[in-house]
């Protein structure tokens, strides 16, 4: 057994903010008033909410201690499948923090915001090139929001063509958001199964595609980490019946510079800038979910659209076929700056990033295939999916192994997803992990598999090193306590 990278260190217990509160403390510098006092009618006001009272030192120490209980990409390898937890470059943060950007008012006149608009215009062009799409909107706030935007575009397209459709085809390897997004557009999900090798067959699509079906939502590479190699044939079947092909671009990190989805039959795609384009996940967001579309769908994109003229950049409000507005202002601009900084830093090197992401995943697949049961024995893209089949005889589950990985200093992979694989363990290393780190991860998994046979209780009681032991999520949901 190797020495795990994780160990214990000095961390602190830290109470809730209000348990540290002392009347009269304040951690904010309040400007001195230089105008007369004009109190509002007392019937409208209160003395203010009862918030905790703390000094700047108290608050600083509070959040510093909290941060030490967290694991981030900067702490170690974070191989969450389908989440693309790559390194978040620090220069991106510097760029987004430039005062010209951070203080910009979204409703300021165009001539005062040309820099931000130029950046957005350039980013639209770059994302259009990477996806092979004719038009891009940066408005959606996150991947799921982009997906909803894309589905609304499809809905608007059919409405414009005079006949709305009622169904949408969704393969069983889809993200959970796909059916939820489709429902919001009033489409009934028609679920189809992928073939025995984890790949969707044209026959399965042809069997359900008809002229009342709006299209298909397809993730490529799919959530098993496999490239849907029948994509062009499937797109032809859907297009022949007047349908559209929605591409979930959550897994774009596998194919930058290798496949342009817009050139292989996909009509709409969303991107997750917080996955593929290196912006931080922030413990759950904010993300950004631009969508790209083929030219015939461009008129339906959210408004306003940005355009470039010889006088500079301007907002186009005159979009008669638009689905409307998706977000109050122009998208998550602060996130767009980071993604743009990344693309400008990588240039054509984006292709190498995808190649190395795929290399890392294939390497893990090759090295762990004798330890864990492989879900599908096919060439994988940027992630590989195993299961806990080999460990079941020892009463050790995927969850047990995931928790035990923490004791070895790794964030667990995505577990129990995709749903088509029972006890799934979905590993996406990304390109920014080195061979040494990946070797350590592989060794940790091998050691854990050995523990599963010899000392299964070590896994069943894991994790042992973190500040808290395994949390009882079932009891928490039974009697929810959501504020204090």
């Amino acid at each position: 057994m190797t020495t795990p990278t994780a160990t214990t260190g000095l961390i602190f217990n830290e109470p809730l903010l209000w348990e540290k509160s002392r009347d009269g403390r304040c951690g904010l510098s309040i400007p001195t008033s230089d105008v007369p006092s004009s109190p509002l009618d007392a019937t409208l006001t209160t003395g203010g909410p009862n918030l905790p009272q703390l000094s700047e030192v108290d608050v600083t120490r509070h959040y510093t201690r909290l941060s030490q209980w967290n694991f981030g990409v900067d702490s170690g390898m974070y191989p969450l499948g389908s989440c693309t937890m790559k390194y978040n470059p620090k220069t991106n943060e510097v760029q987004a923090a430039r005062p010209g950007f951070t203080t910009a008012h979204p409703m300021a006149a165009e001539q005062l915001t040309q820099g931000a608009m130029e950046l957005m215009y350039n980013l639209e062009q770059d994302l259009g090139e990477i996806t092979g799409m004719d038009a891009v909107t940066l408005q959606p706030a996150a991947g799921a929001h982009g997906e909803l935007t894309g589905m609304l575009v499809i809905h608007a397209f059919h409405a414009k063509n005079g006949k709305q459709r009622s169904k949408i085809i969704i393969p069983d390897t889809a993200h959970g958001t796909n059916p939820a997004s489709a429902s919001l557009c009033g489409y009934e999900s028609i679920n189809i199964k992928s073939g025995e090798n984890g790949i969707l067959t044209p026959e399965a699509v042809a069997a359900v595609m008809d002229e009342d079906t709006a299209g298909i939502m397809i993730t490529n590479p799919n959530t098993l980490g496999l490239f849907e190699e029948n994509i062009q044939e499937i797109a032809d079947i859907v297009h022949a019946k007047g349908g559209l092909v929605y591409g979930d671009g959550a897994n774009m990190n596998a194919i930058m510079g290798i496949v342009q989805p817009g050139k292989i039959g996909i009509d709409v795609i969303h991107l997750n800038l917080h996955k593929t384009f290196s912006t931080p996940h922030g413990g759950g967001g904010p993300g950004s979910g631009p969508i790209g579309v083929v030219s015939k769908l461009a008129p339906f994109l959210p408004s306003p659209r940005i355009s470039k003229t010889d006088k500079g950049y301007s907002w186009q409000f005159d979009c008669p076929d638009t689905i409307g507005r998706m977000l109050t202002f122009h998208g998550h601009f602060g996130i767009l700056v980071r993604a743009y900084a990344y693309i400008r830093t990588m240039g054509k090197g984006l292709k190498l990033a995808s190649q190395l992401a795929v290399l890392n995943a294939n390497y893990i697949k090759a090295e762990l295939r004798d330890t864990l049961a492989l879900a599908y024995d096919r060439p994988c893209m940027h992630e590989c999916v195993f299961s806990d089949k080999n460990q079941q005889p020892y009463h050790v589950t995927t969850l047990d192994m995931a928790k035990r990985l923490m004791d070895y200093g790794f964030h667990p992979p995505t577990v129990y997803f995709p749903l088509v694989v029972q006890g799934a363990i979905m590993i996406e290393p990304t390109e920014t992990e080195s061979k040494e780190t990946i070797d350590e991860f592989i060794q940790a998994f091998k050691d854990i598999a050995k523990e599963a046979e010899e000392t299964p209780e070590l896994l069943q009681t894991a994790p042992n090193l973190p500040k808290v032991k395994r949390m009882d999520e079932v009891a928490a949901a039974r009697k929810p306590c959501l504020c204090g």
């Binding site: 409208l44 430039r98 300021a108 090139e129 808290v468 929810p480 959501l482």
Partner: protein
């Protein structure tokens, strides 16, 4: 490339293990016809220093200096300590806290955020965040429509931010739902009397302070919603106002949604902001998005987890009422930090100061020929009718000095020709305000 750690030897060794002859060979499962011939047409890679120059150039081409508009995006001071703490990469580079044992920092921080938001708004439950106020409000409309299945309509005040009403329309129309606008009174409040004659609605929604900055009478909104057996929904764009105003929960609101950008989040050209979504206990299971709750570990030690996830899309799939997964978590953390710095005293004093500055700006502009169409209480925004010639002068100030002197309302409310929405916060000094008056005096 400094983000890619692989040496040539690493690549060779790894390809040997995977059984591929080259990096290109890794993609042999992709049909030839799907593959891009040649390279992407992207600009050449920049060094860190070249990138700095390029970005500095873009950021310098942002010319606003003094901003007298809010309308959903407000300039407030942000403590240096906040951005410093927020940039700790344990917070910034973590994923959604699905593995609670190594995410307790995010989880406790969000739990504290939820708790302080419920205190500020007088509500029972706050979610871990939404994208922004407009999308949170659209979700609130969907909740109301789900609760009252036979109804296809919601009534929304015309004084809800125009962009928010546009978002609601985008979200509702594909499902055959309809937004009915409630007009406004001559005093700048919502004209609830028209609801009497209105057909059945699932929600009555107002913004307070509303788009004109005016504080709505929420007692009347509650009564109007009751008369319609509809949910009372209140939104707000200036979160700081509730450091001073009676909160919507105390008037019996069922759902309250808002924009939390004022709580320590930079304007950043409008995003990312912070969607706040809260409800009564009765609606807890109808709220979309993540919730953090208290829990115990197997040894009985206190901690936190994401909870009630059976409401969410990854479990309920097509039956989920919302598809949200990523929210604006780090901005919720920022807001939590801001509220911790400000505290009871700070938030209240700052809110009072904002109101005082706005009253001073209003009076000063009135002295410069502007007139007030409404005589109703406001927080830090208000509407003024401009004297002749202001339109051209405003344009001139904008282009020549980068001064944003009010937001023209005519494009949103055609009957309000020559009316402008102004805003003052604590960042504007008396001098700034007096200078503006000098500039705009006819």
């Amino acid at each position: 490339m400094r983000y890619l750690p692989h040496t040539q030897e690493d690549i060779t060794e790894m390809l040997k293990v995977t059984g591929h002859s080259s990096l290109e060979d890794l993609f042999s499962s992709i049909p030839e016809s799907c593959r891009l011939k040649g390279d992407l047409d992207l600009p050449d890679a920049l060094t860190e220093w070249e990138l700095n120059d390029h970005m500095e150039g873009l950021a310098a081409n942002m010319a606003a200096t003094k901003v007298f508009i809010g309308a959903g995006s407000y300039r407030h001071h942000i403590p240096s300590a906040l951005n410093y703490l927020l940039s700790r990469s344990e917070f910034a580079t973590a994923y959604t806290p699905y593995q609670p044992e190594i995410s307790q920092g995010t989880l406790q921080g969000i739990y504290e955020f939820q708790s302080m938001i419920t205190e500020i708004l007088g509500m029972d439950v706050a979610t871990a965040s939404h994208y922004d106020c407009g999308t949170a409000l659209a979700e609130a409309m969907l909740i109301a429509l789900k609760k009252k299945k036979k109804t296809k309509k919601v009534a929304v005040s015309a004084l809800v931010h125009p962009h928010h009403r546009q978002i609601i329309n985008t979200y509702l129309s594909p499902s055959g739902y309809e937004l009915i606008e409630i007009p406004y009174n001559p005093d700048g409040t919502t004209d609830l009397s028209v609801l009497d004659a209105m057909e059945d609605v699932a929600a009555v929604a107002v913004q307070s302070p509303n788009f004109f900055g005016v504080i709505e009478d929420l007692t009347k909104v509650r009564a109007a919603a009751d008369a319609k057996k509809a949910l009372m929904v209140v939104s707000f764009t200036e979160a700081l106002s509730y450091g001073l105003l009676k909160n919507p929960g105390s008037f019996g609101a069922n759902l309250v949604c808002g924009e939390g950008q004022s709580f320590g989040i930079s304007q950043s050209f409008g995003g990312p902001g912070l969607g706040i979504l809260t409800g009564t206990k009765k609606l807890m299971r109808d709220l979309p998005g993540r919730l953090v709750g208290r829990a115990k570990d197997k040894d009985g030690k206190d901690g936190f987890v994401l909870t009630l996830s059976t409401r969410e899309q990854h479990i309920r799939r097509e039956k989920a009422s919302s598809n949200i997964c990523s929210n604006n978590g780090l901005n919720a953390m920022a807001a939590g930090m801001y509220l911790a710095f400000a505290g009871k005293k700070g938030l209240h004093e700052l809110a009072v100061l904002n109101h005082d500055k706005a009253v001073f700006l209003k009076q000063t502009l009135e002295g410069a020929g502007f007139t007030a169409p409404f005589d109703t209480p406001f927080f830090n925004e208000f509407v003024l009718k401009a004297p002749p010639g202001f339109q051209a002068r405003r344009k001139q100030l904008e282009t020549e000095k980068g001064i944003l002197a009010g937001l023209p309302l005519e494009c949103y409310y055609p009957d309000l020709k020559d009316h402008y929405l102004f805003c003052a916060t604590e960042v504007l000094s008396r001098q700034d305000i007096e200078n503006l008056a000098k500039e705009v005096r006819p």
